[in-house]
Amino acid sequence: MKGKIVPVCEEEGLELLFGTPSEKIELYSQALADAGFDPLPEFTPPDEVPPGMFRLLSGRAPMHTFGRTTNNRVLGGLMSENEVWINARAARSLAGFEEKPLKSGDYVMLVNQDGAKSGPVKAKVTERIRGDAVYLVHGFGHTAKGLSFSRNRGASDSALTTRFKVDPVMGGTGMNVNFVRISRAEA
């Protein structure tokens, strides 16, 4: 196979120019200003977390590709259910858990601001997350019958993502804008 060789880095002769009017990285963009947007990126704070709730964050685990591989027996063996990460200090003062504080491995239910529900999902009480957010690995909490192994394992961040925000400039969607409440899963 032979194709046309194009330089991909400076060492190969690639010219370090950008497709902007100045051909440089533009922190201040006249094009954005002309289109009626902030020419300099301006920080817009996210919505405040309602009392008693947590911002729902989601992400990936290295062995699972989107929602498709959790049903694979070998990959599913490495991570067979997701956990909801909650900050250790936040877990100690969690409303509804005064009698029996939340521990790693306890099963909980997640309900979002619109009443969408997912779980039961194991709690992971950890220092590795801030106190006002919880985290889920994406790709779990499936309900499809055909997913015979991964069905009903963990919680679905998708089911809890009933709202999203749209970036006014480039149209990208922000999905970590939902809030959840944590309650103990009935045994």
């Binding site: 290295p62 070998v74 990959l75 063996g77 490495l78 250790a88 200090r89 220092e127 590795r128």
Partner: protein, 184 residues
């Protein structure tokens, strides 16, 4: 090779700074060695220290450490667990009765019982190494966090890494003299 007047001492060096915990090493091993669904010859340990947001984390890819002073060998009543080529610790499946004395003796939890009745663990991929290849986990690792080779050969990857970096052993107080080193 010029210097042949040493005994081969196979060892592994695992870089906790490079590892991202992706578990490719675990999958590579399972595929290479036909490890059953609920068994593992290698696994990942993640340790977090501190309180948010002042944290540090260490990720280790662990497996049998092919101890120089291996309690699994001395506690095996049938001779199935034995020292072999390059100082590695191997299991003769035909001799293993599945009594699990070795499982209890190993301080690192390196062994599991195979559904076929014998005990199994990491072999340092001797079937590959004797053909000149490296172990499956070393070849699979995308961050080059794992190195395997002869500790007694000063030009080997493992010898060079241990020479230039700070390393530690797990539970050295057990006196097992493990041959899996962790770069910190």
């Amino acid at each position: 090779m010029l210097f042949k007047n040493y005994r081969t001492r196979y060892a592994m060096v695992m870089d906790t700074r490079r590892c991202v915990g992706c578990q490719t090493c675990v999958l590579a091993c399972k595929a290479e060695n036909g490890v059953p669904v609920n068994g593992y010859r290698d696994w990942i340990v993640t340790e977090t220290k501190g309180e948010f947001p002042h944290l540090s984390m260490e990720i280790r890819s662990e497996r049998c450490m092919h101890c120089t002073n291996a309690p699994c060998v001395t506690n095996c009543p049938t001779g199935a667990s034995h020292f072999a080529k390059g100082g590695t610790v191997q299991i003769d499946r035909a001799l293993c009765t599945g009594c699990k004395a070795c499982v209890a003796a190993c301080p690192y939890g390196a062994r599991y019982v195979h559904p076929d009745g014998y005990v199994d663990k990491c072999s340092f991929c001797m079937h590959r190494v004797t053909k000149g290849a490296s172990t499956a986990c070393v070849e699979g690792c995308p961050t080059k966090a794992l190195a395997f080779g002869d500790l007694n050969d000063p030009s080997s990857d493992v010898a060079r890494l241990l020479h230039s970096r700070t390393s530690k052993l797990l539970s050295p107080e057990e006196g097992t003299e493990p041959n899996l080193y962790f770069l910190v």
